[in-house]
Symmetry: C3
């Protein structure tokens, strides 16, 4: 049996998945940089060795509202972006149509980029709740489609 | 060189992996919904914009025991389900037997579903410790098997 | 169209990725064990059912500095190791040269193993910041290379 692998960049569904998945993972990684920059510019450190080297101070802060907001946004990414990439990989293997796949990838990527902006700027609800829900539904829809494809 | 890819749904090991991995990732994503539902029904908010929109109140709560238990359960999923899916993908590439693969996938999925129930209901130990260990051992066993397959 | 899949262990780039990715995920999973061992030996519990079963005590501790340091190190792994594995998989699909791929994999794996030692032992800065940056740059470089490969 010689079967074409779905995981080559000559498969347009996979090539598009690679593009959007890389974008959202890079966005997630950017949160580390934002956290570090905020900690250093605001001198808000959680490790004693950081405070003594970067801050010329020794007081540790564990509840700075700015840092905690960035960290919640980062954790929210971990909880949503990683499931998208994992489920997305499995979904690509089930051979979805390009148009359906693109719809899922773009809804997810778009909603998560907007979610980050809305979270960090504390835009009034329900903006963040709506964007969060769009992302969850995109991933859940791919998951259900994947389960149906391998179950029957 | 034309080599059959292990990552097609015609490979029964991969098709089963897709099924069990999707189930456990969906289970993990469900924790977001449980957290949101608990926060709204118990009016326990961590962001000012959430409290003012959903709760008709402004007091923020950062240490509600119910929310913290759900969040620990969610974080525990992130720390265990994601390694399972990542290692599982690599393990599938090494061409394990179907029976051995199914044993790993089922032990992991079963123990994690039970782990969530036991954690959320605060069932006395060592129930959760045993279920946690079964899941870790299933993933670690796949990891060792994968390392041996690519090292020699 | 019959295209060779990049995801077989006969592709040396993928075989090496499997090796290094498995090592860093196992390292990350080890943090769970370190946390559990530290909690039990120091009787620092966060769940009531754990304290009553393992600790012969009922006082819950949420801010033990040792546990919190291990947990920050674990969370830092989640934020860095998982993006590496996800981006690395997509990067392998774009067919990089073996020498370039090995450089990325080894820089990442080496810097993260050292990062864990430096974090847990609280080695003075900038040791941890440098190691963290090397890991981030290795993943970001793969991400950029992947985006370029699928965009043009």
């Amino acid at each position: 049996m010689v079967t074409d692998s779905p995981f080559t960049t000559e498969n347009p569904v996979f090539a598009n998945f690679v593009f959007y998945a890389t974008i959202v993972v890079l966005k997630m990684m950017l949160m580390s940089g934002i956290t570090a920059a905020y900690r250093i510019t605001n001198k808000v450190f959680i490790n004693p060795e950081d405070a003594s080297s970067f801050g010329k101070q020794t007081k540790l802060v564990t509840n700075n509202p700015g840092v905690e907001r960035i960290r919640r946004c980062h954790l929210n990414d971990l909880e949503n972006v990683i499931p998208f990439v994992l489920i997305g990989l499995l979904y690509v293997a089930t051979g979805p149509s390009l148009s359906s796949a693109l719809l899922h990838f773009r809804l997810f990527a778009g909603s998560r980029l907007a979610h980050t902006v809305v979270y960090l700027l504390a835009v009034p609800q329900p903006a963040r709740a709506i964007l969060f829900t769009v992302g969850i539904l995109a991933t859940a829809s791919m998951a259900v489609s994947t389960l149906l494809a391998v179950s029957f």
